[in-house]
Every structure is written in C-alpha cells, then in structure tokens.
Amino acid sequence: MKVLRWFDERLGVAAMARKGLRKVFPDHWSFLLGEIALFCFVILVATGTFLTLFYRPDSVPVTYQGPYAPLQGQEVSAAYESVMRISFEVRAGLVMRQIHHWAALVFVAAVVVHAMRIFFTGAFRKPRELNWIIGVVLLILALGMGFTGYSLPDDLLSGTGLRIAYSVLISVPFVGPYLAFLAFGGEFPTEGIISRLFVLHVMLLPGIIIAMIGAHLAILARQKHAQFPGGKASESNVVGKPFWPGQAFKSVGLLLLTGAVLSFMGGLIQINPVWDYGPFDATVVSAPAQPDWYIGWLEGALRLFPPFDVTFFGILIPSPFIPGVVVPGIAFGLMTLWPFIEARLTGDHDHHHLLNRPRDVPFRTGIGTAAFLFFLILTIAGGNDVMAIMFNVQVEAVTNVLRIAIFLVPALGGLLAHRISIQLQTAAPLRLGESTRVRRNAQGGFE
C-alpha cells in the first residue's frame, strides 16, 4: 500500500494498475503458445548474456591447448577456442550453452506453432492485420537470430552453413557479387565475418526483436484478446479470467516450467557438440550434415531444385537463386499479405473478435494445410541423405520421390483438409451459447 502510494503520488499509476490487474484473459490452452515463445526469448537473453561474457568473436588462429585431448595442438580460431573453453573449462558453461541452443530451437518452434494457431483460427483478420505482420517480422528475425547464433562457434558445420548463405547471396542477378562481398567483407571464407555475425546476434537483432515484441504486446493490449465463441462470448466483449491473480500466477508458472523443461534438455540431451565437428576448414565438409531444424526447409529447397542454371542474354541465373531467394521471398510475402488477400477473396472487411474453428473456414484451412505440408516436405528433403542411410536406398531415389511429393502432397493434403472441414461442419454444426450433447440411439442414428 505504501509502495503503491509512493509511485501513485509521483506517476499517477493507480488507475492504470487497476485496469491492468483486471484485464481479462480468455482461458484457452492455445493462447499460451505465444507466451511460451516470449519466455523462451527471456531464457535466451539470460543464458546468452552469460555466454557473451566468455565468447571471443574473433577468427584469429590460435593453438588449442585445452583439456579436450583429440584437438590439442591443432590450430583453431579464437572463436572456436572460446566455445571449447565454455564447454570444457568454464564451470556451468556447457549447461548454459546447451540450454541456450535448445531454447533457440524451442523458441522458433513456439513462434511457428503460435503463428499456425493465429492462422487457422482467423485471428489475423481486421483489426489485427498489423499484429500479424509484426508477427511475421518476428518470425523472420527469429530465423536470423538462429542462423547467426548457429554460425558463431566457427565449427565445421556452421562454416558450411555460412558458405551456403554466401552462395545464395552471390546468386542474386546483377547485385549478388557486390552484396556477398559487402556482407562477408570479400570472397568466402573471410576473417571478418565472425565479428559481424556477433554484432548482429547480440545487439542489432535482439534490439529489434525486443522493440517488435513491445509493439506486439502493446497492440494486443490495445485491441484486447480475440476469443473463441461459446458461452457469453460475443464480438463486443472479452470473457475470461482477470490478470490478477490467476492469470499472472499461471504465466509466471509457465515461464518457470518452460525454464525447467529447457534446463532438463540442456543438461541431459547433448546438442551441437562442436568438439565432434572440429574447427572450420575451407577444404573439408562432414556428411551427412544438417542445419538446425528451422533452416531445414531452405536446405531442402536447395537440394530438391533441379539443375537449372538459366542464361538470359548472357546473364546467368544460378540454380540456388530460385530455391534460396525467390521461394522464401514469395513464401514470406504471401504470409505477410495473407490478411489482405483473404479479405479481398471473401469480400469480408468487418471487425472480427470471435475466432473461427479451423473447420468453419474450409478454404483457409485447406490452404494453410497445403502450406504447412509444403514446408514439411522441404524440411524432410533437407535430410534426404539421412533418409537414404536410414532406408538404405540411393540418395538420388529419395530426392526424386521428394521432387514429386513437393507438388503432390500439399495439393492432396490441402484438398483433404478442405473436405474434412466440410464433413466436420455438417456432422457437428457450431451452436453458440448452448452446450450440445450428441447421443447415439439404439438404431445407430444420432439424436
């Protein structure tokens, strides 16, 4: 009470606090997905800060003299050496590093699943288009964070990822070589790239992400939550539990539990053992080699794309350009503009605060399913060499099957999802404001 008065007399916060504490949160598990993403980010900042204090963003060669015997005496970069030191010599370093890496994987996963929830329930419709776009930007930033962080240890695997990124950049017509040389500071491999990635990873990208999360939440607070229909919920109200104390307790609990799961993973499940990969060497590559899961679809697109170096009037369009630049560009472009595309297609420009069940809008559910399957097949294609080993077949056979599947599976899956949605609608029409009980009678019918 005394504290409240102290602040209220200086800032006039009592009215705001009262409103904030009573803010109503709809009670549905799928609303926690975005929170999990936010809490992963909190854990990433905490563990990342610890790692920053020991990491050296420098590719100057040094001789490894640490406790890991197989590498002793070998020339490695200072960056790699510092990651080895974090892993073997800094107390609690390894667990921090592994929690950080797992948190990154779960972070992107939570963002993706959250975005899918928003998509399939139509939560992006007017007035929430802006927050959808900010969400897509956050997804792209999360991918950027993941890729730059993945590259910092300067091990063999991450060096291969950078090399492919360089090759995609240089493939852009007219400006590619200039872009690649500006980004990398010269022809790959360059000395300066590690320190550039470091600045992006620990300062620029997190700064932008924090600003974007702030905007995301501010808009959410301003527009209030969307909600599922049913009960007393209507377009003009929000039905749920007040922020204080129940929702606040649950959110803090979720933060702690997210941290708990990531700690278990970071302690018990090994990830990115850079000592196994060895330091970066421009003449060596390991096989099979996979990036972190969220880059898998890009890698898969590069693997599936046919050999297709086209020349127009002496201008070469190298084959990585289409799967590496055009496909992701179209994908993110369509995703960003989807709220407007859908509004145009349906002619629906009204405000919507009540969510759809996926079955209620079959065409959207069909398109979303097709898009999801498209990315899924690409991600599988990113591991075509692993699958070839697993099923003991030639990698060429896996690739050829997937080259067909990338068109067939999304098309069929999308149509199937559309059909199932319609079936579900007729089987159980949505009834607002009453609970429905369906019973099977003795004749086998429903009543």
Binding site: R22, F181, K224, L257, P307, P318
Partner: protein, 282 residues
Amino acid sequence: MKPERLVALAFGVSVLSSLALVIVYVAGGDAQLEGLLLGLALGGLGAGVVVWATRLLHEDVAIEERGQLSSEAERSEAAEALDEPDLTRRSMLVRMLIGASGTLAAALAIPALSLGPRPGQSLFRTRWIAGKRLVDLDGNPVRPEQVQAGAVQTVFPEGEVGAADAQTVLLKVDPAALQLPAGREEWAPEGVLGYSKICTHAGCPVGLYRAESHELLCPCHQSTFDVLRGGEPTFGPADRPLPQLPIEVDDQGFLVATGDFSEPVGPGFWNLQSDEGEDQAS
C-alpha cells in the same frame, strides 16, 4: 493430497534443488546434474505456482466490454489538427524538405560500402598460374605415380596452401576410359585429373568420391560430377561442370599446372559467363 500440501511440497523440492545446485557448482560442476537440478528448482517453483493458481484461487468468469476502438468524430478532429495551413500552403518547401532528407539519408548510407571490396577479378581468377607445382597439405610437391587410383587428395598451388578458392581435388583414373571435352587431351598426364574442389552449386567442398562410377559427390546437396567427362554434373542441383585444372608433368617429374581452371570456380553469379575475366586479365 490437499492442494496446500502439494504446493508446499513443490516449493520444498525447489528449495532443495537450488541448494543442491549450489553444492554441485562448488564441488566442481557437472553439466548433467546442473541441468537436472536447475530444472527441478525451476519446475518445483513453477508447478507450485500453477497448482496454487488452478486449485486454490477461486475466480469467477469476468467479462470486459471491448468499447469503441475508434470513432468518426475523433478522426475528423485529428485530421483538422494535422492540417496546418502554414505547411500545406508551402508545398514547394515541403517537397524540398523531403528531398533534402532523402539526399542526406543516401549520403549517410554510403559508408556501408566500406564493408567490403569490389568483387573485381577475384571471382574469375584463382592463384593457379602456368608452372605452379601442385603441393599437398604439407606443402610437398606431388608426382603422378604418388596419386592413388580410387582415392582423392586435396592439393594447392605451391606456396599457397590453404588458399580456399584454389583448392583442387586430385585423382587418378584409367587414361583409356577418359572422355574429356575437346582441347583437354593433354590435361590428364598418366590419367591424373585435377578439379576445383568447390561445388559449382553452393560452394561446398566436393569431398566424396565414388570410385566405381567415377563420380565426385558434394555432401551438402548431393550434386554429382562425372570425372571422366570433364566434371559434367550427373545428378543434384548443380548445372555447371566442375572447373578442370590443366596439368602436366615437369622435367623433374612433379605435377604442375599449365594455367588457371577451365572456368571460374565456385557458386554461380550473374556475369560468370561474361568475358570480363579474360579482358582484364590480358
């Protein structure tokens, strides 16, 4: 169990785990134990809080009215406030203000060019020149009879070990089986072939060799190249052959290059096929 007890138990587990975590740290640390105990410490606290919220807090459903997000009247007042005649009447000055700001922004962006050199010739040329010996990773020159059939070896120009764009994979095949493109008849003394080790797709080192089918395979995206036919791609996303290094045996019996690779090495770029490289080299 009563909810109060459950919450107390969870908090108790958390306290004990936190204490154990400190002990493990002081005793020298262990990643597995640290992760486990940190997980229990966070999880105990989290579980307790969640049980408290779900079992001990009895909250009724609350309903909040959304209210009006925007109104016509506010909008027109805001538009009126924005419409400052001293600005709108001087449209010429406003346009100049925008123009000057744009020019300033462009000027401020120019230092970004310091980030990297102009590509110039570097993408067209490597360190290979006529007369350069082929040396292994230890810098020793290589004789054709030292090259093992069925295996691959990485070589560099003499004095340039580690020069990434000059890395060359050396292998030996049966000279009778060779079907090299016209003009390269002399490029494979005693069946020894040199190819750029940088994949023409995305630049990975083409490190795997399938001896029985005479194919080099890139492990990144599975592009495959036929070494008997001048490095022609046979599978995967690569569409251009691996550049071949012209080699011969010098009078002391060592392998030497007789020039640079047959084409620019590495991933494609828009003006790769232009004669820019040759023009400025001559």
